[in-house]
Every structure is written in C-alpha cells, then in structure tokens.
C-alpha cells in the first residue's frame, strides 16, 4: 500500500489542541510544530496525531528551523 500523505486542506484547519495556536508543518520530518506549546505532533502514515502525550517536546537548544512556504 502506498504511504498516505497528509491532506493539505486538513492541515490548514488544524491547530494545537492545547494552545489553539497555529502550527508549522515540517514536511521533511513529518511533524506539526506548536511553538507555544513547545511540542511537535507527529504525522504517521499521513495521519496527524494531535495528542499532546504522543507529541515530541521541543528542547530549548533546538529551535525548529523555519520552513518557508510551509507556515500554515
């Protein structure tokens, strides 16, 4: 089965479930990043996993690189 891709129209309406703030899409690492919550939500097999307990905490030293054109 081909790997599913996240639906771009869906990504447009998703926000961080904790802060309701905007997310930036990291297409390379397949993550949705909430700067305010300091969390990166994984996208697995095209499905965004919008659960804080499944998200990767962003460490202080790693400020996520800006993704030009991917700011949602």
């Amino acid at each position: 089965m081909p790997e599913r891709k996240a639906d771009p129209k869906l990504l447009e309406i998703l926000v961080c479930p904790l802060t309701k703030g905007t997310l930036s899409y990291d297409a390379v690492n397949q993550e949705l990043i909430s700067e305010r919550a300091g969390l990166a939500y994984p996208i697995r097999d095209g499905i965004p996993i919008m659960l804080p307990d499944e998200a990767r905490p962003l460490s202080d030293d790693h400020t996520p690189a800006p993704f030009p054109g991917h700011q949602l």
Binding site: I13, I47, M50
Partner: protein
C-alpha cells in the same frame, strides 16, 4: 470530574479496530438514521468533521449527495484511523485540534458518551464551527443497557456484598439539552428513540460490546476483580428476569440525537421582551368566545 479513563477508552478502540465490522450493526443503524436527518437539512457543508469516526463508517454510509464536500475523520484511536479510508487526524474530543470557525458541520455517531468534559467538548465544537454551522450527534442515553446494569448490581451485591460501577453512566435527555445551551448553540434540539436488540444469550451481548470497543472504561481495571461467580449469577439473572417466551433476552439502547447551530445573525431570533402587539389580558378575556 473524571469519570472515564481516556487511556482505557483509547485501548478499547485500538483493540476493536480490526474486527469492528463484525460488531458494528448498532453503529450502522444509528449512523444511517443520523445521515437521514442530515439529508433533511437544506444546507451545504463544504468542510465537515466526523468526531469519533472509528473506522470511517459514516463516510462509507453516506451517499455522494447530502451537501458535504470534504468529510474528515477524527478519532482518539490511531488504529481506528489507520483502518479508515478517511482523511483525518487522531485527536481527543476533550482537546480538539480545529481552528476557530473552520468547519461547516460536525457530526458524531455514538461516541461522545466516553467524554468526561462534555460541556468543554461541545464548547470547542461550537467554536470550531463557522457561524450557522451545524452540530449533529447521536449519543447513548440514560436508559441504555438498563437490564445489564440491574443484574450486575444485583449479582454483585449478592455475591461480593458490595457494588461498583460496571456499566458506564450515560447522559440524560434533559442534561443533553442543557449541555447544548450551555455550550452556546442556537436552536438546540434533543430527541430520543429506543432500539431493542434481542440476544439468544446475554454473554453474546457482552461479546458484542467488547467488539464494538464499548467495554466500560469506568470499570475496566476492576473487571478482573469481578468474580466469575458474580458474572455467572448476573447472566443467570438476566435470563430469569428478561427472557421472553422464545428464550431470547432484550438489550435496550436509548439513542439521543442532539442538534444545534453555531449562532449567526441570520438565524431566527427571539423578539426582545415588550414587543408584543397583542395584550395577553385581552386575549384571555376573550377566551370565552
């Protein structure tokens, strides 16, 4: 107040995902009724979300018409979503990941009864809806599984000399209406219908509930503490008390259907007090005519 263990809810749904189609007759029946109601609504819904979509049953049942353009799924269980052909996200109904005023429709089929914070969930749904967006949901009501609840209580008191919640509490019809109002929905409507399922053996009912991912998340971790003896007695009581002439037992499911609209100035509004043109006193005085 936390009644349900959401981790357990998630586990139940994860476990039920692969064989759900063998046990989903109730979801199918109620889902069809929900979509019928949606067909009666003359409105277009460019962006819709199915909250607690499981493996995407509503997307499968809906025919191409019905005013929905894009229907996204949303479930707490990643395995449910993975088994679904829908595009969507894994999310918790208690912390929705949708932007304000992003959706035209939110539908939910027999899923919200596992949510601890229903007022919070509904408020988030209302905020995610555009003005004049529709929320249409079915939920299990308070009469659901009353037979099972009664016999489990009776057996547990008799065998173990105590009582613990074995069947999850469900929302009462009056509470459901109040919840919609409290969440800020306009034109809230709640109605109820009863579906009675007939089983040859009450154990088959328990098997189905587990297969539906509906084993009780209140009781789950204490299920092991329920003695085999208690369960046997409960099943025996179920047969004795409820079996019909054909030897089959009923299981009652009360279905609440809730609908409400995100407020919009274009909706019908109540008049401000003092704008009446006919005096009630005059009207009552003429009553004898």
């Amino acid at each position: 107040m936390t009644v349900f263990n959401r981790q357990v809810v998630r586990q139940h749904r994860d476990r039920a995902a692969s064989n759900l189609t063998e046990h989903d007759f109730l979801f199918r029946e109620v889902g069809t009724r929900l979509l019928d109601r949606l067909d009666d609504v003359i409105a277009k819904f460019p962006v819709a979300v199915d909250l607690g979509c499981r493996t995407g049953l509503l997307a499968e049942l809906r025919d191409s018409q019905g005013g929905i353009e894009s229907l996204y799924g949303c479930d707490l269980s990643e395995r449910m979503m993975a088994h679904s052909a829908m595009s969507g996200a894994v999310a918790d109904e208690e912390a929705l990941p949708f932007a304000d005023a992003a959706l035209d429709l939110v539908i939910s089929n027999l899923s919200l009864h596992w949510v601890n914070d229903l007022p919070g969930c509904m408020t988030q749904v209302r905020r995610a809806l555009k003005p004049d967006g529709l929320f249409l949901a079915t939920m299990f009501g308070g009469e659901t599984l009353h037979e099972l609840r009664a016999v489990l209580s009776e057996a547990e008191i008799a065998v173990q000399g105590g009582l613990s919640p074995r069947v999850s509490p469900f929302t009462d019809i009056r509470d459901a209406g109040a919840l919609l109002q409290r969440a800020g929905f306009a034109l809230p409507v709640v109605d109820t219908e009863t579906i009675t399922v007939s089983y040859s053996d009450p154990l088959k009912l328990l098997h189905d509930l587990r297969g539906m991912g509906e084993a009780n998340a209140v009781m789950e971790r204490r299920l092991t503490a329920m003695r085999r003896e208690t369960m046997m007695m409960a099943m025996q009581l179920y047969m004795e008390k409820y079996a019909g002439d054909d030897g089959r037992v009923p299981a009652t499911f009360q279905i609440l259907t809730l609908s409400g609209w995100a407020p919009s100035p274009t909706q019908q509004q109540p008049l401000k007090p003092g704008q009446g043109e006919t005096s009630l006193t005059k009207f009552l005085a003429n009553d004898g005519d």
